[in-house]
């Protein structure tokens, strides 16, 4: 295998952490000489300044700027710091790039992503249909085009309900007023549809894995959340092994013929002990570095699979090992920030106030 040169996005590790920095670390764990390019949307993405951060970093336009702007910038970045593969880590990137694989290949950038139709089938709005085909339950969910429809669904279901956006955001709302405010915010950030979902009493479990694109599974592992942040993020989780979760995961892979990294989110019901599939995330989760530290290096396996078409079997991480998210301060120099800002394709994307206050 030739030396690994790879671009990764999602480098922020502070509040609401992203997986990119852990992916970079896991790749380095397997190939210390790997060249990692960090793609960032904000000069203050903390992973940029970590000791084991990327070798080079470039600013990108948000996916909302459009595919053409995104591809143009990717080509510029690749010309400046050549790389062969790109692992997008944010839902919005995956959704956009899944429809642009030929264009990426034409630029010399390899990606392995689920196709657009598969992403649509696995999206929040269609999840119940997919889950039924896979023999797994989902929470009762109604899809709304606007706040008015969401209010009607919530009235029928009874408060409280979860209000969710198409890609991000899940807010537990207790009243019509709270729903209207949360719905307007989600629509402004992510657009329609809105999902009105019943809240469930139970424990949260997540499964991470790699699909081979032919209905098989290259590897997976499951955790139970121990500490949940006020945004619902798992700030601590313990490795578990449940044959039921493994079977559900295999059925989802077989049904979708999923390509690449994924995270399945479940709630195990307090009353009936049944798993309900909450969400499918088309990317590595933020906790991807946890199994890598236990010998199950999913990013390295994925890079190997992309480069060679096969990978060594991933070991199953031992149950009972846990992680706790531990925030530390990374340090940087404003010169580093300014060089990133200068390269920002659209400076209006970024908070320049702090910079100008220093000058």
């Amino acid at each position: 295998m030739k030396p690994v040169r790879i671009a990764v996005s999602g480098m922020h590790r502070g509040d609401n952490p992203q997986p990119g920095a852990s992916i970079a670390g896991a790749i380095r764990q397997a190939w210390p000489e790997a060249f990692v390019v960090g793609l960032v949307y904000n000069a203050f993405e903390s992973g940029v300044y970590a000791a084991d951060g990327p070798d080079a970093c470039h600013a990108m336009p948000y996916p909302t700027a459009g595919l053409a702007a995104y591809l143009t910038r990717l080509a510029e970045v690749r010309a400046a710091t050549p790389f062969d593969w790109f692992i997008p880590t944010l839902d919005a990137e995956v959704v956009m790039l899944a429809e642009a694989v030929p264009e990426l290949v034409a630029l010399g950038i390899g990606v392995c992503l689920p196709d657009a139709a598969t992403l649509l089938r696995c999206g929040k709005a269609k999840l119940a249909e997919l889950a039924a085909r896979c023999g797994v339950a989902t929470p009762n969910t109604a899809v709304a085009r606007d706040v008015g429809e969401a209010l009607e669904h919530a009235e029928a279901a009874g408060y409280p309900v979860y209000l969710k956006g198409p890609l991000y955001d899940a807010t537990l709302v207790q009243s019509p007023a709270a729903l209207a405010a949360a719905g307007a915010a989600i629509l402004a950030d992510w657009g329609p549809p809105l999902m009105v979902q019943e809240p469930l009493l139970g424990t949260e479990f997540n499964v991470m894995g790699l699909g081979d694109g032919a209905g098989g599974l290259l590897g997976s592992c499951a955790v139970r959340k121990l500490i949940v942040s006020d945004k619902g993020k798992g700030n601590g989780s313990v490795m578990v092994r449940d044959a039921r979760l493994e079977q559900i995961t295999r059925r989802v892979m077989a049904e979708t013929r999923w390509t690449g990294p994924f995270e399945l989110e479940f709630i195990r019901g307090q009353r009936d002990d049944a798993y309900r599939l909450i969400e499918i995330n088309p990317r590595f989760p933020a906790w991807v570095g946890f199994p890598a530290q236990l010998g199950a290096n999913f990013p390295a396996a994925w890079v190997e699979w992309m480069c060679t078409g096969s990978c060594r079997p991933l070991p199953v991480p031992p149950p009972g090992r846990f992680f706790l998210r531990h925030q530390i301060e990374v340090t940087g120099d404003m010169g580093q920030v300014s060089s990133l800002l200068e390269a920002m394709p659209d400076a209006s994307n970024h908070d320049l106030t702090y910079i100008s206050s220093l000058s």
């Binding site: 424990t203 479990f205 139970r224 490795m239 578990v240 092994r241 449940d242 002990d273 149950p319 009972g320």
Partner: protein, 82 residues
């Protein structure tokens, strides 16, 4: 009674009575006697054998041990371990 529950067999125990259920991610603390019972059940001992062991090692009447054992086994059933 012979037990061969997969979940019971999967339980991770340490000498201090800490029990981790890898299936659910739940953890528990059991007494020294509870630990003897769980380990015995894991290695395939019958309830009668465990009762006899506890009677011999704790100097308690068989009926008392059997009552406590039944209560403990009921808890294990509630947890889905038996």
């Amino acid at each position: 009674m012979q037990t061969d529950s997969m979940r019971l067999g999967d339980l991770m125990l340490n000498d201090r009575g800490f029990v981790f259920d890898p299936n659910t991610g739940e953890s528990y603390q059991v007494s020294g006697t509870g630990l003897v019972c769980l380990r015995g059940l894991q290695r395939g001992a019958t309830v009668d054998e465990l009762v006899a062991e506890l009677v011999a090692t704790h100097g308690v009447g068989r009926l008392t041990v059997r009552c406590d054992m039944d209560a403990f086994l009921w808890d294990l059933k509630q947890l889905g371990w038996l």
